[in-house]
């Protein structure tokens, strides 16, 4: 099967030089891929490249075999949605107004939302278990509720690929699990392909089917949980001592941190 997203020998960065150095990665439809790596390893830059925010200096990214640079931005955003850590607050938008923004890529310049668009947004809210929040202002929400609203907005774009940049960064463990469970459900039931930048290795282990470990802009190791999440790989990249055993419930790799000072 042809990959949904194909990253080919990608190099890119900002004025100061390349941050991503020759990355190649295939994402198959239905994948749930976690991109991990230390701070500054290029995780977010890679995601920005995949979402057409940043243009590569070298290499190409193909979405359904189309070079994404040749795709119209609106057309691209009908297929690929992006979820950030959080959104700027201080604005009085209701959750529904926020989610309706997800319909922008589907609407023409002079077109206003129809009943169909509203129905799609309501479905997105129902999927993220946020229907009750519809009329609430985004400022009034807790961080977990706000993240569900942002994911609902992304779902309103009706994407086939969802890119997420540390969506659980500001959440407590309860909300982390809630958001990750939701994503897993969408991945399974709606066949939504997910590429996610994550800091928490155990969260990545618990939910992803494949992991891509970045180190200094290049892929250090990419593959299944068992292939990537080994103490050798993690110690080499993160420069810290860890133990890896099996999670007693799921049998998936479980990374245990070892403090340097006791």
């Amino acid at each position: 099967m042809k990959p949904l997203l194909k990253i080919e020998n990608l190099s890119a960065g900002y004025y100061s030089g390349d941050i991503i150095k020759g990355v190649s990665l295939d994402v198959a439809a239905g994948d749930f891929i976690g991109i991990i790596g230390p701070n500054g390893s290029g995780k977010t830059t890679l995601l920005r490249l995949c979402s057409k925010i940043l243009h590569p200096r070298k290499g190409r990214i193909y979405f359904s075999e189309k070079d994404i640079l040749t795709m119209d931005l609106k057309e691209f955003c009908r297929k690929v949605a992006f979820v950030s850590q959080d959104i700027a607050t201080g604005f009085s938008f209701s959750v529904m107004e926020l989610v309706l923004m997800g319909r922008i890529p589907h609407l023409k310049r002079l077109q206003f939302e129809t009943r169909k668009d509203i129905a799609i947004c309501e479905k997105a809210l129902a999927l993220t278990d946020a229907s009750a929040l519809k009329e609430k202002m985004i400022d009034e929400l807790s961080a977990g509720e706000r993240q569900r609203a942002i994911i609902a907005r992304a779902l309103a774009q009706e994407p086939v690929l969802l890119l997420l940049d540390e969506p659980t960064a500001h959440l407590d463990i309860g909300h982390q699990i809630q958001v990750m469970d939701l994503l897993k459900k969408l991945n399974r039931q709606n066949n939504l392909t997910i590429v996610m930048v994550l800091h928490d290795l155990n969260l990545a282990s618990a939910y992803c089917n494949r992991i891509c470990l970045l180190d200094n802009g290049a892929i250090f190791k990419e593959g299944t949980l068992q292939e990537v999440l080994t103490y050798k790989n993690i110690e080499a990249v993160y420069k810290t001592v860890v133990l890896v055993n099996a999670n007693p419930v799921t049998a998936k790799p479980n990374v245990i941190l070892v403090p340097g000072e006791k």
């Binding site: 920005r48 979402s51 057409k52 925010i53 931005l73 609106k74 057309e75 691209f76 955003c77 009908r78 949605a81 992006f82 950030s84 959104i87 700027a88 201080g90 604005f91 009085s92 938008f93 209701s94 529904m96 107004e97 309706l100 923004m101 997800g102 922008i104 890529p105 609407l107 310049r109 002079l110 202002m137 400022d139 774009q157």
Partner: protein
């Protein structure tokens, strides 16, 4: 939500009608509405109507320009004159006066001055074909300061005559004598407001962040450029008939955000009406408070606007 919005719009519209009626009757001479339509009073009626229409146009135009800049620059202090239009127009007008250009061409000179200053600010701010919000704001401030000082320099050099001509500029005036001029200004302003409304949803997205908007398929850079151009056109057009009227473009949008929220689809029409009411009201006060002396409209908008704004700010937590 739409029903509530329609109610608010209807209420504001009725309020505007009342304000217009009141504005027609009030003035240095009070004339009952009924007798205004008599032939004897036709001149006064025409003059007052012209003023009121100018007030509506100026209020709506400046407020919508303010909303737009606040959203795309994501800066609550952005206002229509941010891009140096006011000082550019002022400078051009001063030069025109000194050169002895006929009064008829003053609006044209002001318009060209405003446009020139916007181009200058834009050029100064752009770097590698990109324009950062911060450099745009800073360039605007620098150009404004530079031009203002040149105005003062020229005025002190050429003395009183220029001073007199220029005074109304600095605090604004709604005294429009010419239907044609008003119509000429109304066309770009009304079209501009309409065009901005078409971008309402884009403004919502851009307000949350440029990259956020790009993830929703909005070509942020292009949209920002278009919108800055439109606001500049609105401001430059208005400045040549009314001079500098501060505060409307800043406070009415913020006041209305407290009433209807940040959604531009609601905010733009509501602010249009509210700003029109505000300006018509301020104009009535400026004409009648110390009649027959007329207080510059910009003074009234500031004196009334500031306390209203503070009260609203203290009462509501969100702006």
């Amino acid at each position: 939500m739409n029903k509530r919005l329609n109610k608010k719009l209807l209420a504001l519209f009725l309020l505007l009608v009342v304000a217009v009626a009141f504005g027609l009757a009030q003035g240095s001479v009070r004339i009952p509405l009924g007798s205004l339509l008599l032939k004897d009073n036709q001149v006064i009626f025409n003059m007052r109507l012209l003023r009121i229409l100018a007030a509506i146009l100026v209020g709506s135009g400046l407020a919508v320009a303010g909303i737009t800049l606040q959203a795309i620059l994501r800066n609550p202090l952005a206002e229509p004159y941010l891009l140096g239009t006011s000082s550019g127009a002022g400078l051009a007008a001063v030069i025109a006066v000194i050169l002895g250009v006929s009064r008829i061409y003053m609006p044209l000179a002001a318009f060209l001055g405003a446009v020139a200053s916007i181009i200058l600010v834009y050029t100064l701010a752009s770097e590698r074909k990109k324009i950062a919000d911060r450099s745009l704001i800073l360039s605007g401030v620098i150009v404004s300061i530079a031009f203002s000082s040149i105005i003062v320099f020229l005025v002190s050099l050429f003395g009183n005559q220029a001073m007199h001509e220029m005074n109304w500029w600095l605090w604004g005036s709604l005294q429009v004598y010419d239907w044609q001029l008003l119509l000429l200004v109304a066309i770009p302003v009304v079209l501009g407001i309409g065009a901005i409304y078409i971008f309402a949803q884009d403004l919502n997205a851009i307000q949350l962040g440029e990259e956020q908007a790009m993830h929703l398929g909005i070509d942020t850079r292009k949209v920002k450029n278009i919108l800055i151009l439109i606001t500049a056109l609105i401001t430059a057009s208005l400045i040549c008939i009314c001079g500098i009227i501060g505060f409307v473009g800043l406070i009415v949008p913020h006041m209305m955000r407290l009433v209807v929220g940040s959604n531009h689809k609601a905010l733009i029409p509501v602010t249009c009406l509210a700003a029109a009411i505000f300006m018509v009201g301020c104009d009535i006060i400026s004409r009648t408070l110390f009649a027959p002396v007329e207080i510059p409209i910009g003074v009234i908008t500031a004196i009334i606007g500031a306390p209203i704004f503070i009260i609203l700010l203290k009462r509501g937590q969100r702006v």
